[in-house]
């Protein structure tokens, strides 16, 4: 069953049509890769989905609920988690506190003035960190972490809200090859465990073809191909886009 249904999404910046009539859907248990050359409109697409940008037209529905026009925090509460291309964490807090923050927000405890925050949802946060392999670094400040580790923290933060959909913008950028496959294997496992649906962008084709269950290809704002990895790999238009030969 499709959870996220995107129909005819459009967005331009000035005269540039960054996203032109993109439609796709995402079902529970899927790991859907959104690929395309630089400037194809992948990040714009993500920003349209999680509410950072407002589409000029088109609809985005999550389990039938229209998301267009809602601010990011409302979309998040409806069950769309996100990791960023350039990691964004709370640098003045420890790794565990970063995850605790998300739990506090989820359970609407942000306005507490009395109970110390370090004690709130400590075990839950620790468990999640163990799951993504950051348990041992839970007490380190986020500001000093290696980039690959930050990506894991972001994943734990995204999972803390128990989302239905996870948007991951280049989840393995800046990681070593071994780390990349490890993180994607973890993501795939989480999808099975938690009944998630993941939409991710990625430049590393090993990651894409190794872990995506389905692939959609974006070029100059338009979807040019969609299907299982083998089919997309064989698609002539995709090859043309990536290899530069005339289609």
């Amino acid at each position: 069953m499709s959870r996220l249904v995107v129909e005819n999404l459009q967005r331009s910046f000035g005269g540039v049509k960054a996203v032109r009539g993109v439609s796709f859907s995402l079902a529970q248990g899927e790991v859907l890769a959104l690929i395309g050359p630089n400037g194809a409109g992948k990040t714009t697409c993500f920003n349209l989905l999680n509410g950072q940008l407002r589409p000029d037209s088109g609809t985005v529905r999550l389990d039938g609920v229209d998301l267009v026009g809602l601010p990011p925090r409302r979309i998040w509460r409806l069950g769309v988690g996100r990791t960023f291309q350039i990691t964004a964490t709370f640098a003045s807090m420890t790794v565990r506190e970063n995850v605790q923050m998300v739990f506090l927000s989820c359970r609407r405890r942000l306005f507490g003035l009395w109970q110390p925050a370090v004690g709130c949802f400590r075990d839950e946060a620790q468990n999640l960190l163990e799951r993504v392999g950051m348990g041992a670094q839970a007490d380190r400040p986020c500001g000093v972490l290696a980039y690959g580790d930050l990506k894991r923290v972001e994943l734990a933060m995204a999972l803390a809200s128990d989302p239905k959909i996870l948007l991951m913008d280049e989840p393995t950028a800046g990681m070593a090859p071994a780390e990349r496959l490890e993180l994607m294997a973890l993501t795939s496992a989480l999808v099975r465990e938690r009944g998630l649906a993941v939409l991710f962008t990625e430049h590393d084709m090993d990651v894409v073809f190794g872990h995506a269950t389905r692939i959609i290809v974006l070029d100059r704002g338009q979807l040019i191909a969609e299907g299982p990895p083998e089919a997309v790999r064989a698609d002539e238009r995709v090859q043309a886009v990536y290899l530069g030969t005339a289609a």
Binding site: A88, M93, S105, L110, A117, G143
Partner: protein, 613 residues
């Protein structure tokens, strides 16, 4: 009709001076990102130096204009010296520390000018050849002002040529847009910054020297002009020269005609104007959206809840302070009472700066609202002290809730300037509404009842109330509320993406901080027995800022330490020498250079290092 024309021309002449000063400020800010409080002091120095040179040689046109130029160049050299000797060492520090350093320079220049020229107003010689006036539609208008009117566009044109037609100007613009990229391309930013400070300061000095024939030179010129220049820069859009020019013209006219149309609210008109502009145009008239607005501090290391014995230090300190009346005399108790009140004031500001990354230039407004709230209740309704004290945080909190709603919609320096605007509005109400607030006569006779009238009794009451509030603020900082505030500061993007309404949180924090400052204000009113508009004035806001920064923004004990240090320094030095500003300014400069993380931050780092070793 002719009267209005002359009024219009006077407005243009005032705008010219304003433009000279604010163009310098906007250039310095655009390139170095430094909020240069000393810019007004350079203007004042320009006026004093100009006065001396004109007294000496100003009988001939060459001597007069030569003197003006020389004064301007000398002030420019001083600005360059400040960059080399002070600011250059602070480029890696949080941006607010540069602001603190320039404030130290303000104090030093104040006393230096007072030492060199005395505190009397100095009337300067008129410009030779331009002493007379011309009749414009039968109204006399000073010739000199006509020259000034022409000077504004000329300077704008020259600056435009400098920045668009010379290699140096191109490099400066490159560095403004992307400092790191310019450095990577082999441009030495340090040299560029020295040049920019020279240029900006020279413009301020020129503006000052040109004022000599128009108004008396005095020691108050620095603060009034720097606040106005900030308003111009913000209204015009930060870093935009044309914006500064347009804003100068608008504000010049606003002042010229405002006095005719709204004589009761002249003081506040400019700030109301700025507030309206910022609400409508978030980045000023010609400003562009900032990629990275100036921040309070790079996010520091995590706050750590003290454990073990250290946990009891605040309680122990409170106990010790409570025992002080057993040994101390009245004078010491008065000073200590003030320290405790200011500690609460500084801690409330720290909630905004340290946790929220929100730098307020107008926190005194809420201190003053609390003080005036209490005093007015006592004066007009004969309210008893407990009621008046209870009302202080409520009134200030409501005031902060209203002002905060507007302020948190902007960030960085624009936020700071909006808070300043609201503070100035509150101040001018207290200053100009004689019937209700007593104007600059203040409100007298706000004394505690008999049971709290003794110095020891009032000290203990203050300690209990302020100590209790400090404890609550501390709890809030470690509770989810404080964490959420920090989350919004660390990464607003991430915070919004995990369901946090950053603006709403900042708004509540603003109200909470205002409320705590209001209680401090109420306590202050009863400790002094009187309130005056100065409680809400710019220097009070700046003092609070200095306390927070001196103590260090990365620890919760910082503001308390800073308030104690600042107030004791001020009262002690003041009793020893009349040059207390000089000493205080030098102390601030030394502290900034020696402890770029603030005193409390330094001590904590030392402690941490020892623990690790």
């Amino acid at each position: 009709m002719s009267f209005y024309l002359v009024q219009f021309l006077s407005g243009l002449a005032a705008a010219a001076t304003l433009f000279l000063v604010s163009s310098g400020l906007t250039i310095v800010f655009g390139v170095t990102r430094i909020v240069n409080f000393a810019h007004g002091s350079f203007y004042m120095l320009g006026a004093y130096l100009g006065w001396s040179l004109i007294e000496r040689w100003g009988t001939t046109p060459l001597g007069f204009w030569g003197g003006v130029a020389l004064a301007s160049l000398a002030v420019g050299a001083l600005g360059a010296l400040m960059e080399v000797g002070l600011l250059r060492r602070l480029y890696r520090s949080p941006e607010l520390f540069q602001l603190l350093a320039t404030f130290g320079v303000v104090l030093v220049i104040q006393d230096a000018a007072s030492y060199a020229w005395g505190s009397e107003d100095l009337l300067g010689r008129r410009a030779p050849g331009l002493k007379g006036s011309v009749d414009i539609l039968d109204q006399p208008f000073p010739l000199y002002d006509l020259v000034l009117i022409a000077l504004g566009p000329v300077v704008l044109g020259l600056l435009w040529l400098l920045f668009n037609r010379t290699r140096w100007g191109t490099l400066v613009r490159a560095a403004t847009q992307d400092r790191e990229m310019a450095a990577a391309l082999g441009v030495d930013p340090a040299k560029l910054f020295t040049g920019v400070l020279f240029l900006g300061s020279a413009l301020a000095g020129l503006g000052g020297a040109l004022q000599v024939p128009r108004e008396a030179v005095n020691l108050h010129m620095d603060m009034s002009i720097v606040v106005e220049a900030f308003v111009v820069v913000v209204v015009g859009g930060m870093g935009s020269l044309t914006g500064a020019f347009v804003a100068s013209l608008l504000i010049g006219q606003l002042q010229a005609f405002g006095i005719l149309v709204f004589p009761q609210i002249t003081l506040v008109l400019v700030f109301l104007f700025m507030a309206v502009v910022l609400v409508i145009r978030p980045y000023g008239l010609l400003g562009r959206k900032e990629e990275a607005p100036p921040t309070a501090a790079s996010p520091g290391p995590p706050l750590v809840l003290a454990t073990g014995l250290v946990r009891w230090v605040p309680a122990l300190l409170l106990l010790l302070l409570a025992l002080v009346p057993l040994v101390a005399g009245d004078y010491a108790l008065i000073v200590l009472t003030e320290v405790v009140i200011l500690a609460l004031m500084a801690a409330s500001l720290h909630l905004l700066i340290g946790l929220g990354g929100l730098v307020s230039f107008g926190h005194a407004a809420y201190f003053g609202l609390g003080a005036y709230g209490s005093a007015l209740l006592v004066k007009h309704l004969a309210a008893p002290m407990p009621l008046a004290l209870a009302a202080a945080p409520v009134l200030a909190g409501v005031g902060a809730l209203i002002a905060g709603w507007f302020c948190v919609r902007r960030s960085g320096l624009y936020f700071a300037m909006l808070t300043l605007a609201f503070a100035q509005i509150a101040w001018s109400v207290a200053f100009q509404w004689y019937g209700f607030t007593g104007g600059d006569n203040g409100i007298l006779g706000v004394w505690p009842p008999d049971w709290a009238a003794g110095k020891a009794a009032y000290y203990l009451l203050t300690l209990a109330l302020a100590g209790g509030t400090l404890f609550l603020l501390r709890r809030a900082a470690f509770a989810p509320f404080g964490y959420t505030l920090r989350a919004g500061r660390d990464s607003a993007l991430r915070a919004e993406a995990v369901g946090i309404d950053v603006r709403r949180h900042q708004w509540y924090a603003f109200a909470l901080a205002g409320s705590a400052a209001g209680l401090a204000g109420g306590l202050y009113a009863f400790s002094k027995g009187s309130v005056f508009p100065t409680l809400m004035a710019v220097p009070m806001s700046v003092d609070a800022l200095v306390m927070v920064l001196m103590g260090g923004i990365q620890t919760l004990s910082g503001p308390v330490v800073g308030a104690a240090l600042f107030h004791l320094l001020e009262t002690e030095v003041m009793s020893l020498t009349e040059w207390w500003r000089l000493v205080l300014g030098l102390v601030i400069i030394v502290l900034v250079l020696a402890f770029p993380k603030g005193v409390a931050g330094f001590v904590r780092d030392l402690w941490m290092r020892r623990k690790e070793a």
